[in-house]
């Protein structure tokens, strides 16, 4: 008996007590994935599109079928956020593109990808990628001296040619030939020779003309730089975490301050979206004044209205998910070959492409199911009125008086009293009804009183004592306008209007094909330095995948990079190279295989 108890004791001891970090860091969430970030290239000219691929090594597949949200941030050497994007990881992978603005100055940039839950551990846990961007009009390229170390004498083809096959790790890539002509079909084979234990790999394929790019000492974000913000106190009491995983939807987080500037405890924050239906959600602040709201897809990409309930003077400060505490310190990079010549050539190419309006990005179909359900507060109103069916009336009080018998609007001092008939009690409510304009509650109905019959699409009434969770309504008057009257409504200072970001749709690359002679002799120049970007290729054990694309009008040395993850989270890489010449059809034909040497 005692032995049994001892065994049980130690078993439970091992399962109950975590090895490290808990409870200070909180227990591990199943949604805490790690991210791997890949880009199509490392060197760009401002004005180009950068393609990316994201992998989650420990994905959380939710019941709803929606993946987590990933925040993608591009920041410059001074840690200033240049652009950001909200990406939805469906299952375990996502891809898309980021436009690099024309105005970017020449220098090193950092691309970061992280989930909300990763913010608990700081930028140390974020996926990062350093890229070099040259401004299109910067002919001096003085920034090269600032960030680059010694220049390699060898060309990128020599470097990649030497290492191709070595990096493979079960993955190999090879082209049919080593030398191709312009607008010629290029075929390649990708082979995944894996063991039984890890039979599937997900890879992206990039074929581009670019110099080899090596960093001297890879640094994690924030290394050597201290955060300036004080640590936040508002952790969730149950999970012991500040930032929660977003596997069930986007979490809007913020803090409410009272008139004295102190965090307001127990304050109600109402959320509404302008719509043709009344919708309302709310959250109550904790002891640190923090609130969280779980938003569904209905709110994303739209304007949302946040307002504190109760006494005026409160202030809502939303959490900026793109703010990264840790500073970025660019690493010293080494380029192969003559980087200056390459950049000057690329600047010209991008300039010509701009003149021709060449576009190489195409949006793909969304892979996730959109939850468009609204948090409505009633299914059917007690009374609906369409003013268009009646004689036009000059304002809302007149409409109420003449054609809405259950609504009483009276002038009272500077404001108006809006009372609804309580059908259960058979008297008018003593308190004012809650007035909604285009689906959003408005505190001051005076501004609505000038709405005439022609401005109102419909009026809905709830003639009951109605509740939405803890929020009480002494009757509801919902006015839906014909001319977006809410846009002209002046909200009090404590109301916050936010434009929510919509998740970026996946995108791929348009790769011209020159199978027919007419296309091959087309007069519009094809100036792609990136010949192929295939973001999502699934390779199975001992399977050979063939991929074909066409070379552009640009001659040069091109690098094939196949990178990705196996189903078990192991990184796989394969590289190879080939050359495109103006009259390269007489190139030497080699057999497939052999890692592309």
């Amino acid at each position: 008996m005692i032995n049994l108890l001892r065994i049980l004791f130690f078993t439970l001891l091992f399962t109950a007590v975590p090895w490290k970090g808990w409870p200070s860091d909180g227990p591990p969430f199943s949604g805490d994935g790690r991210i791997l970030l890949q880009t199509d290239r490392k060197v760009y000219v401002a004005g180009e599109n950068m393609f990316y691929k994201l992998y989650m090594t420990d994905p959380k597949d939710t019941v709803s079928g929606n993946g987590e949200f990933v925040y993608l941030v591009l920041r410059n050497a001074r840690s200033r956020v240049i652009t950001h994007s909200l990406v939805r990881i469906y299952g375990d992978r996502a891809w898309g593109d980021v436009y690099l603005p024309d105005t970017l100055s020449t220098g090193m940039y950092q691309l970061l990808a992280y989930t909300n839950a990763m913010r608990n551990e700081g930028a140390e846990s974020f996926a990062t990628q350093e890229i070099f961007v040259a401004n299109r009009f910067d002919k001096g390229l003085t920034a090269l001296l600032k960030y680059t170390g010694k220049k390699e004498d060898t060309s990128s083809v020599e470097i990649y040619g030497n290492i191709s096959g070595v990096l493979a790790g079960g993955l190999s890539v090879a082209t049919e030939k080593k030398i191709y002509g312009c607008r010629e079909r290029i075929g390649m084979e990708i082979r995944y020779d894996a063991g039984e234990a890890d039979p599937v790999a997900f890879v992206s394929v990039s074929v581009a003309e670019e110099p080899a790019f090596f960093t001297e000492e890879p640094k994690r974000p924030g290394e050597g730089a201290k955060g300036t913000d004080p640590p936040e106190r508002s952790v969730d009491p149950m999970t012991g975490r500040r930032y929660l995983p977003e596997s069930r939807g986007y979490i809007l987080r913020g803090t409410v301050y009272d008139e004295d500037g102190k965090p307001a405890k127990g304050a109600y924050v109402l959320l509404s979206v302008p719509d043709t239906l009344i919708n309302l959600d709310y959250a109550v602040t904790d002891s640190t004044g923090m609130f969280r709201l779980l938003l569904n897809d209905h709110c994303l990409g739209k304007k949302i209205i946040l307002m504190p309930a109760g006494s005026p003077g409160k202030k809502i400060v939303p959490d900026d998910k793109y703010r990264i505490r840790e500073a970025y310190r660019p690493t010293v990079v080494h380029f192969s070959g003559n980087i200056r010549e390459y950049l000057l050539k690329s600047q010209k190419i991008v300039g010509v492409r701009k003149i021709y309006g060449s576009k190489y990005v195409h949006p793909e179909k969304r892979r996730w199911k959109v939850q468009e359900t609204r948090p409505v507060i009633y299914s059917r109103p007690d009374f609906t009125l369409l003013p268009s069916e009646y004689v036009p009336l000059r304002d809302l009080p007149e409409i109420a008086k003449e054609i809405v018998p259950y609504l009483k609007i009276r002038k009272n001092g500077d404001g108006f009293e809006v009372r609804v008939y309580n059908e259960k009690e058979r008297v008018f409510f003593r308190e004012n009804a809650t007035v909604f304009l285009d689906g959003v509650p408005v505190k001051d109905p005076t501004q609505l009183m000038s709405l005439a019959s022609g401005d109102i699409r419909r009026i809905e009434l709830m003639e009951k004592l109605w509740f939405c969770g803890d929020v009480r309504f002494n009757g509801i008057v919902a006015v839906f306008s014909t001319n977006h009257a809410l846009d002209r409504y002046r909200f009090p200072a404590d109301v916050l209007t936010l434009k929510m970001e919509a998740p970026a749709a996946p995108s791929g690359m348009i790769m011209p094909r020159y199978e027919d002679p007419q296309g091959k002799e087309g007069r519009v120049p094809d100036l792609r330095q990136l010949l192929c970007w295939q973001p999502d290729l699934v390779l199975k054990k001992d399977q050979v995948k063939t991929l074909s694309f066409f070379s552009s009008d640009l001659s040069g040395d091109y690098i094939i990079r196949v990178t990705g993850l196996t189903a078990k989270g192991r990184e796989v890489v394969a590289v190879s190279c080939f050359t495109v010449r103006r009259n390269g059809n007489e190139g030497v034909i080699t057999e497939y295989g052999g890692g592309g040497k």
Binding site: L12, T15, L294, T373, S379
Partner: protein
């Protein structure tokens, strides 16, 4: 030995709780305040002037509510008013009783004190002598491949007792449960059964009358109560496969 037990057992219990809590936290646990939907409805006012409870089984249950948008509100104190066909939520913390909006509710589950769960679903039926179909809450009794059986737990005015003189008479209206059963088959309208008998069952399945009679005889099943009706529908559903 006893002393050792005294030391080990409380520690074991604490570790077990810690282990379970840790396991649960690893399951993408988000605070309930964030994930639980806000239930909407009107202030509950029961009909007055009746003797007897208007609630299903006359009690409150612990249960969960599933909304039309798929979200679920867990661990709520609920009751079903069979007279008004309303789902009632007692919000102890907020100090209110709400009749939940039927249009927003897809169904609910009531758990009795023995832990047995009773699943209710909002179904659309066409009551007898009515032209339009209506939505009612009905308990799911059986859901098979071809046939489903639901019971609307109606509570009706069973009888009225009048007392007093000719001029100053008063009446008391007594309530009693009177379930109504609905049988659903694909491609057919719902069938309503108010009285459980072989005859009513044959009326629902006229084309299978002989087969049903044979099956019921073979299984020695008479039709007098709800349990037997469920059993009979189960057998008829199997016959159709």
């Amino acid at each position: 030995m006893k002393e050792l037990r005294k030391i080990y057992l409380p520690v074991l219990a604490a570790l077990m709780l810690l282990s379970v809590a840790r396991h649960m936290q690893g399951q993408d646990t988000l605070p309930a305040a964030l994930t639980e939907p806000k239930l909407c409805g009107e202030w509950y006012t029961p009909e007055i002037g009746y003797v007897g409870s208007q609630l299903f089984r006359g009690v409150w249950f612990r249960g969960r509510v599933t909304l039309e948008d798929g979200r679920t509100a867990h661990n709520r104190i609920l009751a079903y008013n069979g007279m008004q066909d309303q789902l009632i939520w007692l919000d102890k913390k907020g100090g209110k009783v709400l009749a939940l909006d039927k249009g927003l509710t897809a169904g609910f589950v009531l758990r009795d004190d023995k832990g047995e769960e009773m699943r209710f679903r909002k179904i659309r039926v066409k009551p007898l002598l009515q032209n339009d179909s209506v939505s009612v809450y009905a308990q799911v009794l059986f859901e098979g491949e071809n046939i489903s059986l639901y019971a609307q737990r109606k509570i009706v005015n069973d009888y009225t007792e009048t007392y007093g003189g000719y001029v100053t008479s008063a009446s008391r209206r007594f309530l009693a449960p009177k379930p109504v059963y609905f049988i659903f088959m694909p491609g057919r309208q719902s069938n309503q059964i108010e009285k459980i008998s072989r005859k009513t069952l044959y009326a629902v399945f006229p084309e299978k009358k002989k087969q049903i009679r044979k099956t019921l005889r073979k299984n020695r099943l008479s039709l007098h109560n709800e349990y037997q009706l469920v059993r009979a529908i189960e057998l008829i559903d199997r016959m159709g496969q």
